[in-house]
């Protein structure tokens, strides 16, 4: 077993770390306070190639492996969750779905501009009345000769007002039995007639990120924009989560690291009862746990990444990584605030933002409750992976790096 990261991994990690620390960290608190998204972020991530990091060069990407994607997410969320959310939806939930399920023509039309960062991408599954149980979704897609007519409303969609291309799920057969076989996936573009979007205000966390709604009224979507087959949408949606959750888990690792690093710094500065608080046993315990959570969460994420590289199915392993890493990031943030005392309770320090941001990740992309059901069902034998018509391709350096 080899745990070493390659020179490429380390250099890519350093580059993204420098970007996040130098360009984002200095102002992130202000954007978060104002509940606004820094408009420079997406174009800059595009320019640096981050938006196409693990997409093959022949499809406009940078040709790095799936492990690099995790390292990038860790570095981004070390600074702010809103940065990693971009990778979750643009890359994990959308671009990787195209890589997995898209036809060659769809890859050229959608994936290439997304990987180059010329177009931003989002993923719209959740609706006002369907979150954990997406089979209940009500959006419809009615076929009329060579177009589908989409109607419905999507809610809690990251980058709803920023993305050009949105992967939406709607029912082509609202009466299908079982119901999940009636769902189909489509790539819509925000400029299509009948598409309106807006931002949701008043969020607890990810305030520097964009989360919104999408309304579709008689939107005409060409048949060529259907991703996969009719009725295949549910499987596509779930396979997207295998990649989205991976980025969320990797990001949570970064959030734990943020809590740990900030707490260590503070514990070495703050003095009570004649010594630095780091010398108090109860503070040491908190630090020790954070280190343990960081190490364990990171290993779980990297195992999932390794499986992706090898082309092995990783639904369970990714889910357990996401569940553990995000749950521990909430705990780490709580402890980080505690270590900072009253200062941690104010936005003078970053830890209160970490806590507010951590709370989101135990809700989206399968809440922690749903993650527990998944793990239990695998263990009890109630749930088994079935092969998919299209699997996520294994990382093949030749294929990824050649111009094609």
């Amino acid at each position: 077993m080899d745990f070493t990261l390659s020179e490429e991994h380390l250099m890519a990690q350093q580059m993204v770390r420098d970007f996040a620390q130098k360009e984002i960290a200095p102002t992130i608190k202000d954007w978060d306070r104002r509940h606004e998204t820094n408009p420079a972020v997406l174009p800059r991530m595009a320019e640096l190639g981050i938006l196409g990091i693990n997409i093959p060069v022949r499809y406009g990407g940078q040709g790095f492996d799936y492990i690099t994607l995790a390292l990038v997410c860790e570095e981004l969320e070390r600074v702010d969750t809103s940065l990693r959310v971009i990778m979750s939806v643009h890359m994990g939930l959308n671009s990787m779905a195209l890589l997995q399920w898209g036809t060659e023509e769809q890859k050229q039309r959608f994936l290439v501009p997304q990987a180059r960062g010329e177009k931003y991408a989002a993923y719209a599954l959740t609706e006002p009345d369907a979150g954990s149980d997406p089979v209940r979704l009500r959006s419809t897609a009615r076929r009329e000769s060579d177009v589908y007519i989409l109607n419905g409303e999507k809610m809690w969609i990251s980058l709803a007002t920023k993305a050009h291309n949105i992967l939406v799920f709607a029912k082509t057969d609202p009466h299908a039995e079982p119901a999940h076989k009636g769902i189909t996936a489509f790539m819509i573009t925000r400029d299509m007639k009948g598409v309106t979007t807006g931002d949701i205000h008043g969020k607890l966390g990810v305030r520097a990120g964009s989360t919104g709604w999408i309304a579709m009224q008689d939107v005409e979507v060409p048949v060529e924009n259907r991703i996969g087959e009719e009725g295949e949408g549910f499987y596509i949606a779930m396979s997207c989560l295998d990649n989205g959750r991976y980025t969320v888990g990797a990001g949570a690792v970064g959030l734990i690291r943020a809590c740990l690093e900030d707490s260590v710094r503070y514990a070495n500065e703050r003095v009570t009862f004649g010594q630095k608080i780091g010398h108090h046993q109860l503070i040491k315990q908190k630090i020790a746990y954070m280190q343990q959570w960081y190490d364990a969460a990171r290993l779980l994420v990297l195992r999932a990444g390794w499986m992706k590289n090898m082309g092995q199915r990783n639904t369970r392993e990714t889910a357990v990584a996401k569940w553990f890493a995000t749950d521990m990031s909430v705990k780490a943030a709580l402890e980080a605030v505690q270590i900072h005392g009253a200062y941690g309770f104010s936005d003078e320090y970053d830890v209160e933002r970490y806590l507010r941001n951590a709370k989101g990740a135990v809700i989206y992309e399968g809440s922690s409750e749903i993650q527990q059901l998944i793990q239990a069902d695998y263990a009890l034998g109630y749930r088994k992976d079935r092969p998919l018509r299209c699997e996520l391709p294994a990382y093949d350096p030749e294929f990824w790096q050649n111009e094609g």
Binding site: E7, M11, M15, G49
Partner: protein, 261 residues
Amino acid sequence: MHVVVVTKNTPDTAATVTVKGDGTIDWGDSLVVNPWDEYAITEAVLLKEAHSGKATVLTVGTDEHQEALKHGLAIGCDQAIRVWDGALDGCDSLGYAEAVAAAIRKLGDVDLVIFGRELADIATDQHVYQVARKLGWTMLGYVAKIQALDVAARSITVNRLTEYGTQTVRSTLPAVISVVKDINEPKYPTFIGIRKAAKAEIPVWSAADLGLDAAALQPRTQQLRYQELPKREGTVEIIEGATAQEKAAKLIDRLIEEKVL
């Protein structure tokens, strides 16, 4: 057009540096590209792009300095060369300059050599001037902007930052320059560059490859020992007063009393 940027790794500026009992220094264990060289490397890449030329990143040192070379490649330099030889172990700045100059001569077609303004760890820049002297080329230090570079006409025009203001100088090529922060915004490595850098096999040139004999590299100066700076003791005094004006007046009195003013 061929531009060479000379770099090396230096201890992380964030690291704690301590002087040990025997007068040697513990620099901490993390090394980074000499911060001033970030500007030099970026300038080399910008120039080679603007003039469709070639950029080489060069270091004289052990494989501890490999990372600085890889960084240069990742940012866009076309090739990297490391010069090292047992005979260089413990060399002084003159020996270092001898090796750099020899490598540049071996490259042959170099028009411009760029250095960062100084080495961040030992705060010295004499090696830059020594390289220019060894090559017999013009030396332009503290360059804040390259106004014009005309390779065909063999001329370079730069703005130099001096104590008295900005000085504009024109010189013939080839030349050696050292650059300051104002010259550019350092580039990040590109992902494609990172992959190239990771795969690159960097050649190592020995003293023999450069036609240098060990005697020429013998140090003429010797570092005897480092000493910790005496600890500065400071106290804080809060100046009280009803109004800002009153506080300011009291502050001035105190400063005069302390002979600061």
